[in-house]
Structures are given as C-alpha cells and as structure tokens.
Symmetry: C2
Subunit: 494 residues, 2 copies
C-alpha cells in the first residue's frame, strides 16, 4: 500500500497537485494535444457513464425526452439575446472554412481560402439560441406545450486557464431546455430540476450541497433567475456543481416564439434551461478522496467489489477461484459489480494499492489460511479498516457494507461542511477567517452588486448563493452596515 501512496503528492502539501496527480494516476483523464481539451480515459468515462445513467433515469422520471441539436450555431444567433451575447459569444471556437487542400508548397495541408463560409459558425458553448430558433417551428398552440427536452452533448468555451474536469475548453454535459405556457410552470420546472440535481448530489455522489439562488451578477447570461447547488471541497473552496435557470420570456422574445393560448390570445413562451457537466467528476474527487487515492461512493463506483487471491501455486489459485466465483455470483444477483483479479503479473500488495488508488469501495482478499478456516478478509476503502469474516453470508454482509460506506462518506462530508461553515458579522473577521480557515461563510449582505464586487475584488470570495432554506434574520451587511433580512453564502470557489 505505502509504495503506491507515495505516487500522489499529499493533500496537505499541495492540494492542486494532489488533485492533478490523482486524476492522472487513477487513470481518469489526461491533457490532450488540443489546447485546454482533455482525453477521458476508460476509468474516468466509466464514472461518467454511471453519472449519466442515474441522471438520465431521473430526467425521464420527471417527464423529459432526449434530443440532439447541431454542434454549430450561426454567429448571428448570438446577437439575438442581448445579455446572452455578453456571456457567451466571446471566447469560443469559430468555424470559418469548410475545406483543406494540399499545400501548393508541399507542406502537408492548408486551409483552402476559396472555401470561406458566408456566415461563420460558432461551436456551441450552450444551445439556447439554436434550440429556440427550432422551437419556434414546434410551438403554435398551448397544445404543443410544455416541451421538455434534454440533450447529452459536448460543448466548447475557450477557457484560458484549464484544469482536468474542473474547467476544460471542451466538456461533456447535459442541457435541459423546456418551454412552458405560463411563468408559474417555468418557475416550477427550474425549481424541480435543481432539486433533482441536489438529490443526485446527496444520494448518489454522497456530497451535501447548499441549494439557492445566484445573485443577479452571478446569473446565467439571459436568465431572470439562476438556481445552483454549491458543494464544499476538502480544501475549503466551493464548487458550483449544477445550475437551473428560469429564463423568463427572454429567448422566446429573441426568437419570436409565441403560442395561441386556450383563450385564443397570442402569448410569448416561458422557458428554463439546466445543466451539469463532467465537472461533477472533479467535484466527486475533491469531496471524498484522500492521500491513498480516490474514495468513490458505492452507488457510482464503476467497480464496487474486487476479490484478490493470495496464493502459492496453481492449486491454491483454483481453490480460491471456486469460492470467489460463488461470492461473485451472489453479488451480481443483487446487482453488485464484482471482479476477481487473478493476474499473475502483479503481486497482491501492488493490487491492494492500485484498487485503493482507484477507489474500489470494498476489497476482499483470500489466502491459504482463509481457505483452511473458511474466512475472507474484508477491507473498506472509506475508513481503510479491515476485518476477517466467515465466507458464509459474505455477499449479504458486503451489500450492507456498501450501503454503510455510501452513508458514511456522506456523513463525513456533511460533518466537514458543517465544521467549515462559519457565521460571520464583521468584514475584518470574514477576511481573516477566509485565509485562516476557508470554507463557507454565512453573512449579511446589503443586496447590492457594488458590495458584492468589492468583496470579490478584495478577497476573491463570491456570493455562492442565497440559500433556499435560509431563515429570515434581521441583520446588517458586514461590509456597509446597511440592513439585510437574511444571510447569504460566501466562499472562494473553483
């Protein structure tokens, strides 16, 4: 075990380096030759597939269908929604030509100047514009509403400073885009979906989140309201893990989408959009993992149980295999993924360390002595604890253990979050604790963009959200002393 652990920089020593080492050493992803774009490797993609499967199930349970819209968006579309253009049309990949040709000077291929597009296309940074251009044809009457669509896709934003999973130029995500006849219905939808995200974060990722509204200056470009889930990472920084936007009638207006109401009047359509991305993998890593490697919640772990044989000679291996097969059969019957690692190219100690690095929740080991005594060693990744148990009934025990691990890492993250959430009433104390302790801060704020900008400039902390579950409390803005009626959540963030 120890020999692998040293491959990772420790969290204490350098958190950013620990994160990057872990993503690479655990085989999740790596940087590519394309600026700011990553390669998602098999183990990382398997994790994304688990995330997708569960979210997709939840989207379908809430009545949504999947669709696919074009990757490219005509440049002019970005000018149609005034605030959207400011937020999205700037740093993006622009397609200007549609052909290469052999370089006349013999240096490979060159862009054919004859093949210039009349109007340039932008690789989608998000798809509101092209979707609303299309919805115009789908919506004539109230009978065509609501439209509840979602798309799993790649998007591109030409980010200057990138980090694997957390911020990449290209990333994978889902974007929901819904159209409604009334404001109430759209508000309700935006609310429903942020709650789906919160449930997914807490029950599946084992990651507690604060649900709330973004302040006006942190809203999505084009939204009237942005709801967010904010999670605390182990280094005390916040991470925005998902957002859901009430877009009002902004995109309907920009793309002239109206419908004949039940009463026969012509009305503009209301809309929402909501998304989560491969960034969730970064959140998952930073919420739970340790210096030995990944700690994955059993519900999302690509492999939940591994069985490692410790044997001498082929005879011993075959006797262990027979028992392992019986255990795996029992586990698979109840939907637990399990694998028997009989590779003879690696020693058991190396395997143990490797499965710890990869965050496999439960490791079973069986040796000669276990064969004699009908026992098996059970190791849990979250606490690193091991115990030797009888083989009889082991599958049932493991199923319970997986639930316990899921629960335990959620509780551990919750305790950390509670310990790292501080109520502060003085700006000086805020600044001091932000450096000394970090974490979430619940503070009074006067509600102005000026104060928010000042705090951001002076401390790099931002308002993560105005929590939904905040209790009304009279107070004074920690910066200006002006009256405030509830605390908001400040933090430095990824």
């Amino acid at each position: 075990m120890k020999e692998m652990a040293k491959f990772l920089t420790s969290k204490e020593e350098n958190y950013a380096q620990w994160y990057n080492d872990l993503v690479i050493k655990a085989g999740l992803a790596e940087n590519s030759v394309v600026r700011g774009c990553m390669v998602i490797k098999p183990y990382g993609y398997a994790l994304w597939e688990k995330i997708q499967q569960q979210l997709d199930t939840m989207f379908k349970e809430t009545g949504h269908s999947n669709v696919y819209f074009p990757l490219l968006i005509p440049k002019s579309f970005f000018s149609k929604e005034a605030s959207h253009v400011e937020g999205f049309a700037k740093e993006c990949a622009v397609v200007t030509h549609y052909r290469l040709k052999n370089d006349p000077e013999g240096n490979g291929v060159t862009v054919d100047p004859e093949a210039r597009l009349e109007e340039e296309y932008v690789i989608r940074p998000t798809s509101e514009t092209i979707i609303w251009h299309t919805y115009k044809n789908w919506i004539q009457s109230y009978r065509d509403l609501p439209i509840l669509c979602n798309q799993w896709a790649n998007v591109m934003r030409w980010e200057m400073r990138t980090r694997l999973f957390l911020r990449t130029a290209e990333f994978l995500w889902q974007e929901g885009h819904t159209a409604h006849a009334t404001r109430e219905e759209a508000v309700e939808e935006a609310d429903r979906m942020i709650k789906v995200y919160a449930e997914f974060a807490e029950k599946w990722m084992a990651m507690p989140v604060v649900v709330g509204h973004k302040s006006e200056s942190e809203r999505f470009a084009g939204a009237l309201d942005t709801l967010t889930i904010e999670a605390l990472m182990q280094d005390g920084k916040a991470l925005q893990a998902g957002t859901s936007h009430f877009l009002g009638q902004n995109f309907a207006r920009a793309f002239d989408v109206t419908f004949a109401s039940r009463e026969g009047t012509r009305e503009q359509v209301w809309s929402t959009s909501w998304g989560v991305s491969t960034r969730l993998i970064g959140a998952l890593i930073m919420a739970h993992s340790d210096d030995n490697g990944l700690v994955l919640p059993p519900r999302l772990a690509p492999l939940q149980v591994v069985i490692v044989p410790i044997y001498k000679g082929n005879d011993g291996l075959e006797r262990i295999r027979a028992r392992a097969n019986a255990i795996m059969k029992d586990l698979r019957e109840v939907g637990v993924s399990a694998q028997f690692d009989d590779r003879d190219t690696q020693k058991p100690g190396w395997k143990f360390a490797d499965y710890e690095l990869k965050g496999v929740p439960v490791r079973l080991a069986m040796g000669e002595r276990d064969l004699e005594h009908d026992t098996i060693e059970v190791f849990r990744r979250d606490t690193l604890a091991k115990e030797t148990l009888p083989v009889a009934g082991i599958a049932r025990h493991v199923v319970g253990l997986l639930d316990e691990i899921q629960e335990n890492i959620y509780l551990k993250a919750s305790r950390l979050r509670d310990a790292m959430t501080t109520r502060v009433d003085s700006y000086d104390e805020f600044k001091r604790l932000l450096d000394e302790k970090g974490g979430f801060f619940l503070c009074h704020w006067d509600g102005t963009a000026e104060t928010e900008a000042l705090v951001k400039e002076e401390t790099k902390a931002t308002i993560r959200c105005i929590p939904l579950d905040a209790t009304a409390e009279e107070g004074r803005c920690m910066v200006t002393g002006k009256p405030s009626s509830q605390r908001v959540l400040f933090a430095r963030a990824y």
Copy 2:
C-alpha cells in the same frame, strides 16, 4: 387510418419523398438552419438510444471500454498518414479563430481578427489521428496491449448533398479504435467487430446483411482491409450499414507507436477501427417501413405496446383503465414497454393512424363491447392484421406476438433480398436488370480497379463487397472476360 396514410407520399410514387416525409411526419428528425445538419427529435433519439444500448452492451461483452477524445484535431495531423489525408482532410469544418467581438459598426458580433489560431483545428471527421497520437504515450510494452477502446461521439464531414440520417454533415456514431501486438490479433478483432455489427443488424434490426471485404478502391482511407455489412433497401439499392477496418501498422507508423515485445525487440503496433452511425436509423426505416408509416422491429421500438381506449363517458374510461393497468403491469414485469393513451384531445381513429405512422409494433384497443365480453382487440403493425382475444392471458400472448413480429419482418426482408439478388454473367444483362429490377447482383469480376471504375461510370453500380461466404466458382469477368474465381456483390447504393 386512411386519413393519416395520405400524409405520406407512397413508396411507389416517389421513394425518396416517401422516406423524407416519413422521417419528418413520424417525428424522427428534421433539417436544421445549419447547412446539412439535422435536429434529432425525441422519437428519433429514443430509437438511437435503443440502438446505442444494445451495441454498447455487445461492445462491453467483447471487452471494450468507452473513452472520449477531443472534438478538434490539429490540422497537421491529417498530413501524417498519406492515404488518410486524401480521404478525410478535404471537406471538413475548420476552426481558425477563438473569439468573437462586438462589431465596431454595431451589427451584432464579428470574428475578432486578433484571435487567430497559430495552427487551425479541424472538427473530427473520424478520430484515428488524434487517438494514435495519444496511444503513443499509452503504449510502451506488450503488457500495455491490447487497447480496446470505443467512443460515442459526433463527427463532421462537409457533405454537399445531404439526406436526413443517411448522409448529414454532422452525425452521431461510435468509433472503436484498438491496438494490438500482432497482425493476427488485429485481423481477428476487425473480423469480430464486423460480426458484432452483422449480429446486431440481423437479430435486433431484423435486417439481413451481406458481410464481406471492400474492394481496394472502396476501402477506408488508411486501411489495408475494410469489412462491411451491406443491406438491401426496399427500392433495390444497397446501403452500407457498418464497417470494420484492419489498419495494419499504418497509423502506428504515422504516429511512431512502438512497443517492447515479450522477446525484447521493438515492434510497431497493429490496429483496427470500426464504426456505425445514426445512418442505421435510415437503414432501419428503408428496410421495413410502408405507406402507413414506420415498421419497427419490437426489439428496438421505443414503445412496444400501446393500449387505446374506445369509450363513452368517464365511467367507461375508468373501467377500461383498470384492465389496461393490469395488462401493463404484466407486460412491464417481463420487460415490455407499454403505454395507455387516455388523451381526450384525439379520437381513437386518429390515434390508430398515429401509432401506425410511428411503428408501434402492437396496438391493443378496448371498447364497451370488449368490457362486456372480457375481450380485447390486438393489432399487429407488420401485417396490419387484427383479431379479438380474451383478456385473460393477453400479456403472454403479446410477448409471443412481439417475437413473432421480430421474426416476421426479418423473414420478409430476407425474402425480398433473396428475390432481389440476381446472378448475372453478361454485362449487357447486368445493365438491363440494374434498371429494370435493381437489387443485388452477384457477378464475376477480374479484380482490377479499372473494370470496377468502368462499371461505376457506366452504370453507377459499385462493388458493395466481396462476400465472406462466397463459394469458389471459376468464371469470367462479365466486363472483360478475364478469369475470376468467385462472384462479388454489385449494386447501386446510398
């Protein structure tokens, strides 16, 4: 029923128009504002999801893992593999800039000339180049082999003439990319995957295919051998539904990927790639559908069974609903998808026609008389036959019926293919029958690219493949009279 059928142009009248009408009227896809790109609508995407799920399962069963590589590929990569550049670097979308800015003259946004990329990127038309650039770092020794990866992704080829699903500028696909230590292993892999495609086509799409090798001039750019599955559409044209390529050491050589062998020598890596795309949806439509709409194989139908109530008053509806719920419960327990259509906005006749258009394999209808007699009307989409049966045991009957439909549409397509496959020995007869009858032609060919090109120029027919299961047969090339040892498959193709 008849009132809906008229929405479709008949196949006889205009096959191409029938196809396009059907794709649009059944809600599968539509053209978008982006040149040659389509919007895949909910029903079309649900079909794609069914296709993906099954193929993905088959890929995993054969040991493959999913990964994700960048959308963009540096332009220079296309010059690295000599024949690949000819095939792919030409008609493609080129990213030259990474920023838009507000137009100084106030006309929306414009491309920022300051933000020109040093090296342009191409939106992937296929990913061999960037993947092999990456594999170079993944492969040092024989222990790192084989690599068995697959990617589900969007790709772009700037096609001039596009048709929904069949040929679009952007399409969704999967591309498998494998690396091997030996030629034998790579050849075996290419073979394994074309057989996976053939099995999928026959067992799931209910579409018989001819498996074979492409002639040299029809090979994938960069391949030493291309295997293909060729299906016959109802208008007598062939459709290439999937390909698997043995790439030899071409990409390893181009990207300098070598490994230390077990014997300690340095060797170049062998590779394959293989893919199918949203084109399969086009194939599925053209293989089975009729003038009433889609005919979908039950194993891929997004909805397998619909129950339509025919009632007067709310009382009747509720009594039918109770029985329908019981039937749906039974169906769902055995994995059959079923829905009760209780919409009061549409009449039963409209619903019948709509479900026929959408190709739902089995429709159950229940009216007042059925309530009295404990019966239900069972309609099968493939033959349009209906019968009235007792409600007792209906779920079991439907399960059997779905299997029967799956089998029947496969047999129907097989019979058509057999009837439309002609052995011809004279070039004149070939030309005549190609126009009069169409379909597949098994002919002797002298094996030269010249003859192949001549036939293509004169008749627009191409060699679809050299069938794997062809029996040795001495003969003479129908064009040149030169000796030939087996027949090859000619057809006009999509």
